[in-house]
Amino acid sequence: MLEARAFEPEFLRKLDRLVLGIKRARTVRAGQRALGRIQGLGIEPENFKAYAPGDDLRFLDWNAFARFDELMLRTYRVDRQVEVTALVDASASMGLPERDDKLGLALAIGASLAYIGMADNDAVRIGAFAMHRGAMKLDATPFHRRRESYLNFRPFVMSVKAGGETRLGAAVDQLLLQRRPAGTVVVISDFLVNESDVEDALKRLVAARHEVKVVHVMGEQESIAAYPSGLFRVRDAETGEVRETVLGPATAAAIRRKIEKIAVRVREICTMHAITYAQAVGAGNLESIIERELPRLGIVR
């Protein structure tokens, strides 16, 4: 199981030097009009302003007072904590083909991002969603901020099993109902679902002022359509629908074309909504994905 790899010390050591590529300074807006940045406690100087009664004397710039004989206050950009949610698709399609272990790869990426997020003491959680018997089941861990708490994710990560249908829209609905402050949501899925559902879900996340990042998980075997040749009954793992088809080179080519189309379409949707899109292909490529692919796309730095 690949998700266990995310808790191995050797693997975690490689993540120690990485941080999440998320925006911490947020512009306060009222409708379409920008009101300015959020100021407050922080270490990054923002500006100077004249002292006014009631200001915190700790921020008086005594050097400026000595030079100009005016009480000046130094202001700082607020040091904002971001809530990061790694939202993992745990539908049945993530469990197939078994050799690809897409769910393991998705959970390992989610846990890795959580570990990386903890480097900045950001509040991090991992959630898994799937539709069971018509009801969306969104399970998520509590927020954890410090790396000492990272191992608290392990029981949850190890307990997630593939099953049910993918309904990204329903999962986002349930997530938004929690009314958390806008943060960063990393959606990790194979996106084998209706493209309108994908677009709708991502749009609503963006509309809720979340910073959304998408990791498109794909299996190696699935990508090349490595199926045996012959007449088979093909069963959809999520819907149970059965279709008889002749598997062979022509079929494999058609499947590969379809996978490429899905990837292109998801990428288009992400581009359209300014969402960072990354592909994670192959469970054996976990480390290169974390160390090279995600930094290349700015999801981690």
Partner: protein, 631 residues
Amino acid sequence: MGLLNPQNFVYGLSLALLVLIYLRSRSRPAIEVSSLMLFDEVPAPVASVRHVRIEPLFWLEMATLTALTLAIAGLYVMRPRTPGHGRIHALVFDLGAGMSAREGSGTRLDQARRDAMEIINQAPAGDEFSVIAYALEAQARHPQTANLADLHKALDDLAPMAVPARTVALRAALIRARGASEIELFADRPPAAAILADAASTARVNFHLVGSGDSNLAIVSLAPGIPGSTRGRAVIRNFSARPYPCELAIDLGNREEFHQTLMLAPREQVVVPFGPLKTGGVLHARILTPDAIDADNDRYAYAPSDGAARVLVLSPDAAVRDDIARVLLAVNANFQIETADPVKYPGGANASGANAKPLELAVMHDCYVPAAVAASTLLIYPPQLGKNLRYAAGIGISVNATLPSADIRSDAMGEARGIESLTLGATRIVAIPEWMDLIATATGPAHSSIPLAAIGRGAGGPVGVLAFDIRDHLLLAPDHLDALVLTVDLIKQLTAPRDILIVPTGADVSLPASGAARVTQPDASVRTVTADKWGRVRIRPLQAGRYSVESGGETTQVFANYYDATESDLGAKSQAEANAPAENAATASNAQSAGEVQPLVFILVALALLALTIESAILIGHAGRWGMRHV
């Protein structure tokens, strides 16, 4: 609608096999994939199914097998009979003695003949008729034809026989009539319901009961007694439900021995004693009172002659010689018996001088002396001869082995059927020539059937064989009366006159003949019979009375007696009442067979072929679309 043989539905198990194959095919390799979205652009999905799929090939094969199963089981429909021409009728006649009963101006057979002619005359043009008769056995008298002249001639040629009509013969006759659409059965008594029901399964059966009278007298038996010693007796039976006078005459040769008129009570059987006869000869009893059946009004018997005759007894055992001599004297007290040890028997003229009378009978026990020449020979416990010695050609037997014991089979003793089964002592396994008639057989260790007693008339005269040993006074032992009965029976037949034979009607009679034999029957008709390779002619008397067989200047008289209690009992009315279920069954079968059975075999086979053709077309289409590998 119905089925001819529902048991053939066992072939319907092929349907279950087909379903199993179908289920097996449904369980062909399945792959679970993450999403069928990936297969949206796959060229040709065969079908998409959730629960039950309509598989044309499966249903076509199901239809094929169902049609074939129904065809094998014999699905048919009942169609109304097509009126008019083209029907085949079988006219089945009972020719038993009962059909010769006179009623009115003719016999019962005449009445049946008239009924048949009426049916023929009323039938539409184009209908064909066949004529079948039965008594002891079934016989097709004329194949189906529409030629009225031929039919009239075939009907005119029918004549009743002096034999009972047997049930098996009726069954055989109805089987021969199976090709017909209608069977007209003419008999003087209703057959069993089951027989008619069987016949009615394939054709309409119309039973015509002919005759109604019951006035018949019969001579049940005739025993001549011993001439000069015991009285003879005749048994007369009145089958009528009314008192009936019976004028009985008994002749011996040309001389009348007894003549009396008796009054018999309804259905009474009386014993009429007569004699004793003064001499032996052919005894002829006659009922002179006119009654229905003539065949049972005459009966013949042979009164043994008490004339002196020389008999030679040869045996290595003195006790056996003594026992055989006692038995011979019991059969005929006037026998002149000579006994000898075969080793010391000189043979030929040396035995009793040149002027001695020829031997009438030679009895040889456990020995064979070719020099002992007699008119007839009885071999008892014949020995297995050495390499250089063989039985004479006129005897024709050969001995293969000796068994320590054997059991008489009571079911194969012919005339001696009354004998109980019992164990005999040492018994020889004798190969009997084909011209001899087996009287009794036995079973032994590792042998299911051993000839025990046989008799025949060969070229050298009558020969009898008893295969068992009679040492230790077997013939005189009270527990082995059967052995004594067999021995006495053979001696009587061997010493009977060779030119006189008294047999029951229907029996096979074989007689020695040189070349062809001229047979004069009781109705004065003459026919010629050719002798077989053993120099014997075989006749089967089917009329009661005297047959005269002439061959090579010699004439043999064969007297055929007829009596059958069932056939002679003409109480057809009471019997019909007793067999009312039979008639009901016949009526029911008629009602059931009012329609015509129309088998659907051809239609069902055509449907099966059509289904197979469609299936083949579908498969060819699949092959053209996806390639042969996936068909």
